[in-house]
């Protein structure tokens, strides 16, 4: 069983899904309705954000190289536009490629288009920002930190709480810090793999880029009094029920935690976070995969142990082959060698102006555009091919919003004759890292870290109603 303090903290931070479920429609109506009359006048009135029932949503079929069960409904969730739904409980929503960077500068992903990925089905759906607290704790000794486990009756390793912060405290007591950074799911594009593997069957839209605003993690840890013996910093959010699967806890080494770039974000593109993107506070680890960007962050543990084996999402899941490349050849080959946690993103680029099956006009200039990003060196060059990779031309780059940001690119090409055109884009980072062209060199058992050059197939026709340019 959890200790009482921890349970109290959880009760204070959220109304659990279980509560809402038990309360039922009547209870929820009471929650909203009792105060709805005063909603206009009362600045403290709760906000209840709903989405319409969508019994017959539009269906799209993902065009994966190996066909599977690839139909996806387009569903609108609270605080979101209609997005591609991969799963519903917990929700996993993917951003259509054309919406990937239709925010500011053609570089940022709008909050209501940003992808959603959860692990445990019990997610926070109701949070009072005045009652929310972030607790910073210390775990001493070389033994690994062990999370609580109601299923086996295991208590969490003992910790000492050294700092408790409200959202007001975070805003009032620390310098404000903003950074533009990409958040990409480790398994983005998993559905594109060949052979395919179980897991979230994503196309390329589990990625986004936002301007995150909040406080530097190093400032919070300094205030908490991080010791010279601390090795790892652990992060836990509110998405868990006591009888649920392994708690979603992530860890980063102290050196990364104190680098002045890792931050706690209470705002995203200048506004509070959507609930499904981690309201009211999430971790941002620029350059590293989204798995580290813990949502609904309410617990930080400074641990003296470097042993992360008891944390399921560090010691068992989100791991890649520790074999130099992180990939296995040939694809599908058995691998029983060492594994390590996935960390830094690899350079990638996408076309956002056109999707498979688009029609362009023969003999007329076509404007292609998209984005590129990497793990933190910044983008040096983006090349574009309209002939399946035979010839490449350098695209024009958009505004530079920092080395962790999407870098917009654009280029024009003219299809000379009617027929099929394979559009490809390839980015090179400032460190010289570029994208592979052979997907067979880009496969691993969990479908993580794909960054092969992707292709969009369009068709040029001589006569059509609209000028594409």
């Amino acid at each position: 069983m959890r200790n009482d303090d921890e349970q109290d903290a959880r009760n204070r931070n959220m109304n659990r899904r279980g509560f809402l479920r038990k309360a039922g429609a009547l209870g929820l109506a009471g929650l909203a309705g009792g105060q709805a009359l005063k909603a206009v006048a009362d600045p403290d009135a709760p906000r209840v954000i709903t989405a319409p029932d969508q019994p017959n949503p539009p269906i799209v079929t993902q065009n994966f190289p190996v066909a599977g069960n690839d139909e996806r409904p387009i569903v609108q969730y609270p605080e979101k536009r209609p997005l591609i739904r991969v799963t519903s409980r917990p929700p996993q929503l993917e951003t259509p490629m054309t919406m990937l960077a239709d925010g500011k500068h053609g570089t940022l992903t709008a909050n209501d288009a940003f992808f959603v990925r959860y692990h445990n089905s019990e997610i926070p759906l109701s949070i009072d920002p005045k009652l929310f607290r972030l607790e910073v704790k210390v775990h001493t000794g070389a033994d690994p930190y062990v999370p609580a486990d109601a299923a086996t009756g295991t208590d969490a390793s003992p910790t000492t709480t050294v700092l408790t912060l409200s959202l007001d405290d975070l805003q009032d007591q620390f310098d404000k810090f903003s950074i533009v950074a990409v958040n990409q799911c480790s398994g983005n594009s998993r559905g594109e793999e060949n052979p395919r593997m179980p897991g979230g069957q994503l196309a390329n839209g589990a990625v986004g880029c936002a301007r995150w605003t909040g406080v530097r993690l190093k400032d919070v840890l300094a205030k908490a009094g991080i010791s010279a013996t601390a090795q790892q910093v652990l992060f836990n959010g509110l998405d868990r029920e006591d009888d649920e699967p392994p708690d979603f806890i992530k860890a980063i080494p102290v050196a990364r935690a104190m680098d002045g770039e890792v931050m706690l974000a209470y705002a995203m593109n200048g506004e509070e976070l959507p609930m499904l993107n981690g309201y009211p506070l999430r971790l941002v680890v620029p350059g590293w995969f989204g798995t580290y960007h813990v949502k609904h962050l309410n617990e930080i543990i400074m641990s003296e142990s470097n042993d992360l084996s008891k944390l399921f999402y560090m010691g068992t899941a989100y791991r890649i082959p520790d074999n130099g490349t992180g990939y296995i050849t040939p694809p599908g080959a058995p691998y029983s060698g060492p594994m390590k946690p996935i960390t830094r993103m690899k350079v990638r680029s996408f076309i956002t102006s056109h999707t498979d099956g688009a029609i362009v006009r023969t003999g007329h200039k076509v404007r292609a555009k998209g984005i590129a990003f990497d793990g933190g060196d910044g983008i040096k060059m983006v090349e574009f091919s309209s002939d399946g990779g035979t010839t490449w031309n350098t695209a024009m780059l958009g505004p530079d919003l920092g080395k962790y940001a999407f870098r917009a690119w654009t280029i024009r090409f003219t299809p000379a004759a009617d027929g099929a055109y394979a559009l490809m884009v390839r980015a090179t980072s400032n460190s010289g890292e570029t994208q592979p062209t052979d997907p067979a060199l880009n496969w691993n058992p969990s479908g993580y870290m794909r960054n092969v050059v992707e292709t969009v197939k369009v068709t040029a026709v001589s006569s059509m109603g609209d000028n594409d340019d």
Binding site: P46, R47, N69, T87, P90, S126, Q201, G270, F312
Partner: protein
């Protein structure tokens, strides 16, 4: 307009940057003093998504689909299995075992009286309707990997 008015007034009165900041935030409904361009509401936020959890097993034998709906759907929406690639029966069995062991549905499985017969019904159902077929299914695999349930 109000914000600009505050700013201009304070500038005229002496141009204290700090006071301008206070003047700007004072115009916010919450009266927060830390706003430097970002407004965070103090009001509790609730989203309602239960009405969107409508995933159902629609293919194949309705009786088997009902078993799968009840047991798989107890912990997660059933679009988790129905969006997977066409997996082999061996891989489907491994996924069911993973739910029982790694994700600990094994505890409620036992508490709820879930049987091997039911799990094998699910295995064959998934293999037939969302996989490569059930011809190669090993119906002892789940029992071997997850001991302790009723037959």
């Amino acid at each position: 307009m109000t914000k600009r008015f505050f700013g201009k007034t304070l500038l005229a009165a002496g141009g204290f940057a700090a006071l301008i900041a206070v003047g700007v935030t004072a115009a916010n409904a919450d009266g927060r003093h830390h706003d430097r361009g970002i407004h965070l509401s103090d009001r509790p936020k609730t989203i309602v998504i239960d009405n969107l959890d409508t995933a159902m097993f629609t293919k194949g034998d309705p009786a088997a689909a009902a078993v799968a709906q009840a047991i798989c759907g107890d912990c997660h929406s059933t679009d988790y299995p129905t969006t997977q690639p066409k997996l082999s029966c061996k891989t489907w069995a491994a996924e069911i075992v993973k739910m029982g062991k790694t994700f600990r549905a094994g505890i409620p499985w036992q508490e709820d009286g879930v049987t091997y017969t039911q799990l094998n019904t699910i295995l064959v159902y998934l293999a037939d309707n969302y996989g490569e077929g059930s011809a190669s299914c090993d119906l002892t695999a789940i029992k071997t990997a997850v001991p302790g349930l009723l037959d």
